[in-house]
Subunit: 134 residues, 3 copies
């Protein structure tokens, strides 16, 4: 099976991290099928979206508004509001799948594959890519 | 690989568009596996849900309430509130997968495969179907 | 194709139900690939998250806050607020996929595969597991 892992440095602030280049390179020469992207973390997720033109901050603001980093959370480990990070997978799941045709992702013009990491207590994340032949 | 694209006319109002018939026809005669559905658009997503009995409007109202079409968005291209459309993929991802057994989708009685398009500036959408053999 | 169904008793209260053990056992001896999990229900979904430390209740409270069980819903069958259950798939989709390497799920330390069922009118749910070889 074609499967690979790589690491993303996400630092200590909430952010969206572009994985499209790594995904592009991985599927090159793999023919036709589906790329599976997975993050083995309980406080991170994947979003396929436009990056740029303000949408990254719009999305981060939305997560903050829907999952406020206040004292409402029963989960109280880590920094204040960290309980919110554990609900992130309800919005952004840790898996994503993208068709591949002739070794190329069939993403739309404005789509990028992004890692959403709101967890300020974990600065390094792992991403696993797996290719399913069509 | 079995892969196909088709076009959906989504018009100039937010809506949910039933893709189940096209998916059904695509998997017929393809045996056992998983159907992959993908929309190559940054302002549309997929939802597997009951269509009818008011739930379509309930879902559209929910998207409107969680992502209000007002002036809060940094992304300011297009119609007023269009920035909200760019956060839709946080709720409804552009991919979906459904098991296929003997050429038939294993959807539940009340499940349909729907395209969610809130973007009033783009009236035509592409959908890509891919079959992964089991 | 390797595919199997099993039943989960979800009772008459909203809850999260751990499917990880059943998934683990299913992929054992199946080598490398991707596990596909699917629930053929319009009012249930899947979440890969940490179970325990309060996060289950945090997630259920979040669903309740984002989709309040009041009289706003057009869908009016079943118990009061049941219309909310029909919008659950916007947050928690009925499908999930997890890489499998050497017969083992590549879940992170804190990740579990959970069924989210807020529907108090349906006490039994079906889950379908499908293995896609890598």
């Amino acid at each position: 099976m074609k499967s690979a892992e790589f690491t993303v440095h996400t630092g200590s602030r909430p952010g969206l991290f572009d994985l499209t280049d790594q995904c592009d390179r991985f599927v090159r020469a793999l023919g036709d099928g589906v790329l599976h992207v997975f993050v083995p973390h309980a406080t991170a997720g994947l979003v396929i979206m436009e990056l740029g033109a303000g949408s990254e901050q719009d999305l981060l603001d939305t997560v903050d508004r829907l999952l406020p980093r206040d004292d409402r959370w029963l989960h109280r480990h880590g920094s204040r509001g960290h309980g919110a990070d554990h609900v992130v997978p309800l919005l952004a799941p840790p898996w994503a799948t993208i068709p591949v045709v002739g070794g190329r992702l069939t993403l739309g013009t404005w789509q990028s594959i992004a890692l959403l990491d709101t967890n300020v207590d974990n600065g390094t994340r792992t991403v696993r890519l797996t290719f399913l032949e069509g």
